[in-house]
Amino acid sequence: MVGKLYASSSPHLRQGDTTRKIMLDVIIALLPACIASVVIFGYMSAVLIAVSVVSCVICEYICRRIMKRNNTIGDLSAVVTGILLALNYPVSLSPLIAIGGSVVAIVIVKQMFGGIGQNFVNPALTARIVLLTSFSSKMSNWTEPFAYLNKNAADAVSTATPLADGEHLTSYFDLFFGIHGGCLGETCVLAILLGGIYLVARRVITPLIPLTYMGTVAILSLCFGLDPIYQLLSGGLMLGAVFMATDYTTTPLSNLGRFVFAVGCGLLTMLIRQFGSLPEGVSFSIVIMNILVPYIEKFTRLKPKGFIKPKKESASK
């Protein structure tokens, strides 16, 4: 009788959610964007994604071994980081640099701060920023879509991203289906939206952050006199809003906090796009807001129902 009585602390009802299952869902959600990148930019994008994923997993394994911690490559988080990182590269990037990016993301940003759930900024985005400041010309060497089909032309035909070309030359149709120059995963909005809808349907993410982020960008671009649809569909905004700004570890817990976080991301993105020297500011704005998350948490902490501030109570008496 005694042996059948289990004493355990709550929660007693559990869902079958594990880190591994959530990460698997994210990987499935990223697949359309990966396929789109291979279709648009050719087999080299598949090579880049593979190199990035494998190097991320190897880095994670070696790191955990050296630090004598239990190995966490089974939770697939390194795979997700690898795919996200690869989706931020231009197709012309050398795989060696991609390995460097994996080392920065996994070793410096993730494992040195304690591994999964302990990193204070998004590993993939930070690695992208490090590479962007280090190899700025190579990281912004955009190849024209379907250049791999045309064998007579030079290997890589450079082009500007829709955000950088000044005049809005790309049509909404091309923007939506990703037929323009850019990073591997950021061009095809359709594929990213498919992944986002899957994540929302599987309840891996809530649509609050992506929608607020996009809404802020749309409203601000109207204020600046820009075309809001063009601003939404171009650049890394969709990829950032759906996959980067919704990272569990680096976003606030409460809904109000998430709202503030997403508005901040949108504000910074538009400020950088409009006034900064770089054409795109999604990665910088998300990382800056990641750093501000502890402060957002502090000011948006949930209060128990009926909670009165102790000071006020004594004053009213």
Binding site: G100, I108, V130, T133, S134, F135, S136, K138
Partner: protein, 226 residues
């Protein structure tokens, strides 16, 4: 015995009490100046000269300086030597003066020099102070040189301006910029901690200095037991 202790005074500044990597003093010039190995040596040697001279002078005057105004007195002495060193550098190595810019006169407020004056020279004899200053200066220079070489090699592909890897590898520009400086600085501190045997597990350090101790579950549980 005196000789051995002098030797110890000298060597402690290089690894065990390295001013930059263990005491974490003088961080500002360390990060700002180490973009190249040549700059690092220029800064290190200038600071060592100032440190040596100011330590000797302050040690000589330690019984004359009233305790209440000792900091202004130290600063004045240090400022005098910094001016001399700055003029010498301007006269004989104008390129280094240009590269170091404002950080050369800023040696005046360098924590290492004021720290050694306050902690050591004002309490010890002339010879010991001189050796201490020299050891600390060498430690500072070695740390700067390490950082300078690493940052220059990775960030520009050269060492002392001589191309090493820049012919076959594209340099990683971020190491020349400020964030790369912080990366290298952090790694070198970790390495110095490992070398000097100061690595401790979190349990050995205890919760005393942790900023989150009031909210940490470990602490409240322990507190309840106690």
């Amino acid at each position: 015995m005196a000789k051995k202790s002098l030797l110890q005074e000298f060597t402690k500044g290089i690894i065990k009490e390295n001013p930059v990597l263990c005491l974490v003093l003088g961080t500002c010039p360390t990060l700002a100046v180490t973009t190249s190995a040549a700059n690092a040596i220029g800064m290190g040697v200038s600071a060592t000269l100032v440190l040596l001279c100011s330590n000797i002078t302050i040690s000589l005057l330690r019984k004359v300086i009233p305790n209440k105004v000792r900091i202004p007195a130290f600063i004045t002495i240090i400022a005098g030597f910094v001016s001399i060193v700055q003029m010498i550098v301007k006269a004989y190595a104008p390129s280094i003066d240009e590269a170091l810019g404002v950080y050369l006169p800023l040696i005046v407020v360098n924590c290492i020099i004021l720290g050694r004056a306050e902690m050591y020279a004002s309490k010890n004899g002339v010879i010991a102070s001189a050796v201490d200053g020299l050891g600390m200066g060498v430690g500072f220079t070695v740390a700067l040189l390490c950082m300078g070489i690493i940052r220059e090699l990775l960030g520009a592909g050269t060492i002392f301006g001589i191309p090493v890897t820049s012919n076959f590898m594209e340099p990683i520009t971020i190491f020349i910029l400020a964030p790369g400086g912080f990366f290298v600085f952090g790694m070198l501190i970790a390495l110095a901690n490992k070398l000097s045997g100061k690595c401790k597990k979190p349990e050995e350090i205890g919760c005393g200095s942790c900023p989150m101790k009031s909210k940490c579950h470990k602490n409240t549980e322990e507190g309840a037991v106690e």
